[in-house]
Homo-oligomer: 384 residues x 2
């Protein structure tokens, strides 16, 4: 039974609603089982049936009632994602569960090592998804997965679009054509990071000139940086590109996104995160974000500085929890240092009625925090 | 029982996970009842307890099993929203249900007229929410509701933030101070449209000069327009501002947002919508959106032109359904005319490998569609 359609039928029979009024109804789960329980016996046959396989490697929940309920909720999110993607024309996307205890042999065969993660098998690559377990976030991520790893920039409007994507790590290269061996190395490197790092290329000398790129050259853009770094040592081979990106994959300022939130949160520095809350769609928040970007640009070479920017609009359900945990008011911008072990935190004092700190003041505050050491004890707090 | 906390306890006792690893867990519903069933007897007493009351005016579902299930899912979304907002410090936000059949007396007393809508009672205003019935979208909307209706622009960075919000209808006025009677009229008008239309003001002559505003003057910005219209006839009284906005509340180009999607969809022209799909975070989509904006800017005075821009990234669960219903591929930009009664549609032919249409070509296509008439019959389709 497909609820969505049943409702549509019911509404139509009442004569009250047209397609137009129900045509935008967000789908609900129809109750049909589509997520496979993978086992040593069946996993090969099931995975063969799909172009893309999405596997949730979960804890064993036997004898734990509340963990069992939690897993049920997670399964429902996967079922809804599977139902929605059932309608997709281009690709067959399958979903499966692997139990850490019961299916350890499958996990070993497939190379699943982090429990509570989702592994996506596509085009001979394994992509680890460590984001929100919600149908919409996961489905949106899967659309990115099935896209080509390299996007081609053909004209100036597309170039403007490239510049507009300042929130992610991006690379752009200039090559003769899609058949160039240098482009093929680049494309292979792109597959390794797809879809987390965005790869672009142009074959147009005019666009290359605007990007200040020589032939076969690749520029690396950190998030929020206006000036790129040219990757040294061209012509590059795949492994050199991969190595460069791996060495530069922790930006000075990065945005917390639902599709990678847990991965970023696990990537702390000495058990701490510098966290900035700022709502971009608000004059105060926008202003504070501009100051943050200025600080990041001036400190882009400091490996010990990595600020996580959280836009509260992206996580509405967590806002009251954060306000309570950190004793802050998220109606105005905030910056602080959070201990990831025990949620201890220190926040910069800002008078929300008055002017924001300058970039220099903000930089000084962060420097003090970093120099004072890694432990947020009372002594440290009293110095601030 | 609060699931989130129970799980946290369980995980901690296993010694495996710290706060940091669970600190970003999106809350799940804890099973406690917080949403009130309002009746003629209790509604006054219940509503008195809250600063803001959120009421879902729903159909009666007796004797209809599938409608009953649908309502249950909707109730769960409201329960989760209520649970999350329970932790909010500043405001007490209550939730209630009013049944169209059983509680018609309450509906009448409260002035609820559109069934399947959510009515928000705040500060003596009634706000109708006709968006996605999901906890996150509703909660984010409620944060906007409890903000001040007029935002003050104090400096150039905040002004940049104001310019950055091009997707919404915005007004900005220049006044002497918050005590100015002209500002008070403006603030009263803002309350009428809050939070759908964004109202800004500045008290700083330098900022006013940059906005080309004289004292007590208000500029009106249509979404995506670079040049504002100055509202004629100042000094204005509240009712004049309200009237002007009501006359200009259907923009030439508007973005479909989850929090107002059904309201926008119901606002068709002669039973049809011009719909454009474009993913902003993609060079092709960005390019097409730039062309759309150009067309909108050149046709801003045409009352018969209103294009709905949908970014597929905002509605991942609807993408396969739209692709199937409209027979289009949303991996590349699309523009078409949709009949809201029967979902009949005509789409512009665009070769996704080649160049996009120019603004002139797009305008011509839209003009042809509008001139050919309102009915998308086969005859009409064959002409395109």
């Amino acid at each position: 039974m497909k609820w969505g359609w049943v409702f549509l039928g019911v509404f139509l029979s009442l004569g009250a609603l047209s397609w137009g009024e129900k045509g935008l109804e967000i789908p609900e789960y129809d109750g049909k089982d589509r997520v496979h329980a993978l086992s040593a016996k069946n996993y090969k046959a099931i995975m063969k049936k799909y172009d893309v396989m999405v596997i949730y490697y979960h804890k064993n929940v036997d004898r734990n009632r509340s963990a069992m309920k939690q897993l049920q909720i997670e399964e429902l999110a996967l079922e809804l994602a599977a139902q929605v993607l059932d309608d997709l024309d281009d690709e067959d996307i399958g979903f499966g569960l692997v139990d850490q205890k019961k299916d350890s042999a499958v996990a070993k065969k497939l190379g699943l090592d982090e429990v509570e993660s989702i592994y996506i098998f596509a085009d001979n690559e394994i992509i680890e998804y460590d984001g929100e377990l919600a149908a919409d976030t996961l489905v949106e991520f899967l659309y990115d997965v099935i896209e080509d790893p390299v996007e081609i920039i053909d004209n100036e409007r597309e170039l403007k679009g490239f510049y507009n994507m300042e929130e992610v790590i991006r690379l752009v290269g200039y090559f003769k054509s899609e058949r160039s061996p240098h482009f093929i190395e680049y494309d292979d490197a792109a597959e390794e990071f797809h879809p987390f790092v965005k790869f672009f290329a142009t074959f147009d000398p005019k666009i290359a000139k605007k990007l200040k790129l020589k032939i076969n050259e690749v520029n690396f853009y950190e998030p929020f940086m206006e000036e790129p770094d040219t990757i040294p040592g061209k012509p590059y081979i795949e492994s050199e590109l991969v190595e460069y990106i791996e060495q530069h994959d922790r930006p000075t300022l990065r945005k917390l996104e639902p599709h990678s939130m847990y991965e970023i949160w696990e990537d702390d520095i000495n058990g701490e995160h510098i966290v900035a809350f700022a709502e971009e769609d608000d004059p105060d928040g926008f202003e504070f974000l501009e100051i943050l970007k200025e600080v990041a640009r001036e400190n882009t070479d400091n490996p010990n500085l990595s600020i996580i920017w959280i836009d509260p609009d992206d996580f509405p359900l967590l806002v009251p929890y954060w306000e309570k945990t950190f004793h802050i008011d998220l109606a105005s911008p905030q910056i602080g240092v959070v201990d990831v072990e025990d949620a201890d935190s220190v926040w910069m004092e800002m008078d929300d009625q008055d002017d924001m700190p300058s970039a220099d003041e903000l930089e000084q505050w962060i420097e003090d925090v970093l120099q004072t050491g890694t432990k947020l004890n009372d002594d440290f707090i009293s110095k601030l």
